[in-house]
Symmetry: C2
Subunit: 222 residues, 2 copies
């Protein structure tokens, strides 16, 4: 193994190589997300990183390991912010608005991200578990209750106050992220089917920013 966290001292790696490892990871991220893991070529990643192919193996040993590193990075970019928002102390309405705002913005910048992560997970379901552990440092079975505890409480409160009809927190979450993420995954189909220009797509997302919170919250009126 290269520099990284050396066994002897916690001193940070020397000069140039940190940059390089990072550049490779960035390049790999690009290429893997565009082409999928199986469709990606080490040569393309090397070119994109401005280094040569042998160096990829120097740092990451094999395509598979590189793919794992990229997947972890991508998934950690996608999920924790959303989970944090959902488990936060914000009032429920604000929470919904914030999740939608954050997701639509994130997805506008990195439209391939959700498709890539979901596709990887469907080919390697076992990674979901590792991922949840990495995210939270606790066993998979334990996390959901904790993170969504606050959310469940808020729903119960709303129900008791008569402002909300009952819904399982799991359904709440899945419905919300479905409405945020799916249109981006289906973007090529939607643009063709509706005969949309890129500008019309942008307008659709812009409109969605304000209409989706309303749509979602209306659905939960008692």
């Amino acid at each position: 193994m290269p520099t990284k966290k050396g066994g002897s001292g916690q001193v940070e790696p020397q000069s140039k190589d940190v940059d390089t490892e990072q550049r490779i990871l960035d390049a790999a991220h690009e290429v893997f997300l565009r082409n999928g893991t199986a469709g990606a070529r080490m040569q393309d990643i090397a070119r994109e990183a401005g280094v040569n192919q042998a160096l990829l193996h120097y740092y990451f040993r094999s395509k598979e390991r590189l793919a794992e590193a990229v997947f972890r990075r991508a998934a950690l970019q996608l999920l924790p912010p959303m989970v944090a928002l959902l488990g936060s102390e914000l009032p429920l309405e604000r929470k919904v608005e914030e999740v939608i705002r954050h997701e639509l913005e994130q997805l506008s910048r990195t439209p391939y991200l959700p498709g890539y992560v979901l596709s990887e997970l469907s080919h390697h379901p076992e990674r979901a578990g590792q991922l949840v552990e990495t995210m939270t440092g606790m066993r998979a079975a334990g996390i959901a209750p904790r993170v969504f505890e606050k959310l469940g409480q808020q729903i119960d409160e709303g129900v008791r106050a008569g402002t909300l009809r009952p819904i399982a927190p799991e359904d709440f979450v899945l419905n919300l992220v479905s409405l945020c993420i799916f249109p981006f995954a289906a973007r090529p189909m939607a643009m063709t089917l509706f005969a949309w220009s890129p500008d019309q797509w942008t307008a659709f997302i812009e409109r969605r920013r304000v209409e989706l919170p309303r749509f979602f919250l209306e659905a939960l009126r008692p």
Copy 2:
């Protein structure tokens, strides 16, 4: 080119080969959906079909052509029923219920289908156009208005009657299919995050069959 529609006569192919071509297509469908196009191996398809690899090339000439055949088949299995339902003469509420019922049932049987189709489309956006043309036999730009004309009318009627608040038909459709399809694409993540057993997943979908129509329709109350 093999048998198929011969240039000279419209006589149907001889005996055995129709079965074989079909078996190959079925096997390819399996393997491509499981592994994605780039991740699929011709050898695996041959084994799954119980024939040998050369025969795949005899019938389909190349991996790429086979992939196109499978994609067309998969997409035609996924989209037309939904489009037909959405453009049908059913009253709006029934329409929503029927789409949800049909989609959840279809997706329970073929969970890889939407992920595969969406993934293929994001790597080959041009196929969306071909697909729409194949589906309807008319130019892409022309189809959406026609197919969703009825839907738009029904929404307008509902708005005038005061039973619905205004929503663009495009948003209506995207929201509806998002809520149906996305949970299946995200199934591995969801099951891990919520620590669900397969039975709990089934129960979730069962529950969804009745709750989703309500959720969706409530969201559109004026």
